[in-house]
Symmetry: C2
Subunit: 366 residues, 2 copies
Amino acid sequence: MKIKCLKSELLNGINIVSKAIPTKTTMTILENILLTAGDGEIKLLANDMEIGIETSINGEIYEKGVVALDERLLTDIIRKYPDNDVFIECNDEYLTTITCENTDMIIPGREGDEFPSLPKYEKENPLVISQFSLKELIKQTIFSIADNNSNKMMAGELFEIKENKLKAVTLDGHRLSVRNIELKDNYDDKKVIIPGSTLNKVNGILPGDINKDVNIYFNNNNIIFEFDNTVVISRLIEGEYFKVDQMILNDSDIKVTVNRKNFIDCIDRASLFFKEGDKNPVRFNFVDNKVEISINSHHGSMNADLDVVKEGKDILIGFNPKLMIDALRVIEDEEVDLYMTAFNAPCIIKNDTASYIYLVLPVKVN
Amino acid sequence: MKIKCLKSELLNGINIVSKAIPTKTTMTILENILLTAGDGEIKLLANDMEIGIETSINGEIYEKGVVALDERLLTDIIRKYPDNDVFIECNDEYLTTITCENTDMIIPGREGDEFPSLPKYEKENPLVISQFSLKELIKQTIFSIADNNSNKMMAGELFEIKENKLKAVTLDGHRLSVRNIELKDNYDDKKVIIPGSTLNKVNGILPGDINKDVNIYFNNNNIIFEFDNTVVISRLIEGEYFKVDQMILNDSDIKVTVNRKNFIDCIDRASLFFKEGDKNPVRFNFVDNKVEISINSHHGSMNADLDVVKEGKDILIGFNPKLMIDALRVIEDEEVDLYMTAFNAPCIIKNDTASYIYLVLPVKVN
């Protein structure tokens, strides 16, 4: 194999596929990036057996070939090169010379045959969504995914497609996030559970261009994201997701409208005195058109007043401040509406069109 | 006590003195900042018993008083406040209310009497140096200080004053750094050894203004730095520093001039294959007006050619790349001169005026 490409092209490609390099593995071949020069295309591939990412880069092919190169070493070498043409040449023993300007770096490569290839998939009827919308959707829901593996289903995000609607749902036992978006076309009904780690990785490499699309395919219990020159293939989580609709009831008789930024700032200050697991929540005392936000701990205490607009009766309710802030931070509206029923019932934050719905469970106030 | 000051003033002051908060201590009072309102001045003080930092901030004093407040908590509270007036009020039990806009934060303070005060010092005959020069001087020497405590003297930096000259020296057993600068005035001869940690902290809080000065006092085995509204007092290291002049001999018969940036870039690439303690250095083969920089390890190998200007015989010599790069990075000249004698003798990097001298010991090439 012998190729030439710009340092920036190569580094960009490496940064994309390296998201699929496992942090720990006993299969050392997975610590490599598979570099393929053939059929007029230079491709990079990484695959941790749960998610595989392939991207193609611009360059010139002088001699076709395939080699697996250590991802860490390759990244370091390319990073340390100047912004210029980089030549990669690999001999029959997979010894690979990476040259730029006056410098040769020579590293041992491995045979490409050892590398696990991506599963084949059918490119039929893609679900089409703009890069921007997908990136926003992930950002606005992924934070309430469970981060431990105690419950496999909670570590996944539901994508539910009905006609021209996509509903994304995450929950972790203390809160629930829903985003509803409209698609340009109609699709067959579909419900899949995508690993949170996959969506985090897609979010990390998706440029988020509003004028470019992502094609999503579902195939043999895999989900495939195609965008720009990149393909991401991930397994789906099997099973039936939680019944979400019955958790979000529309019977709240208290509605409070708050200024989002001021509300976040006060809760954030109160969070200084909140310790996870302390069972001492931040108290929200909604009285008339005021809320008093307070917390009392042995480290110190905090007290703040904010103007709000309230419909319905007064209520004193406690929350873990982190859960409230997480939801409020991903909303973009200046004013947000909170719906409550009682001190021991969930608070629901949503807009009129229900394009977002965030549910947060309260914590008992002593 | 009751005071008012701007959040930015307060936070700036906290950030300065917090450099003297110990990371680990059994004396919990040292984890506090002493806040003093009195005599028309608001002062902040921290003191880890090796170094003490005091700074004064602008504000209004409504009621004099002294209180010690937990540094971590105080920093977090002030950070989370908006850019506006902050009121601090402390009652007879040292319970302290910190108010900004609509929020009160209340934390327990401690009595000021428990706090170790700074030693008194005489403000006579300061050594005067511009903030800029002191910051540069520290940056250009501190990197070759020994970072472990195996040798107390090596963890200090020599300041040697003779007439209107200040010489700063650090060494760690593998290398040596010397900076010579001219002072505006003449001073009595003086030799002191300043803890490296002190200079790192001074460097961290010194604004580096070219038009403002630092006054340095020596007093009872302490060194005192005064600049802007800040005073830093640190103990000195007692003892006799290494005889440095005899290490830097002027008998080199090889002189090589290199382009600093290109030289650094090549050594930096070679460093990818260098492991500390491997006894496999980067090889520098100076032949005629070329240097071949190379390294061969079981991870891979590297080879680069650079044009140089050489006087004297050819030489093959090995170095730990990190030591070479550290010295070359703090030099600002485009071209630098290397002086060598033999493969087993130090390399000296210096300019014609000897305003900087860096000595690096070679590593045996197999």
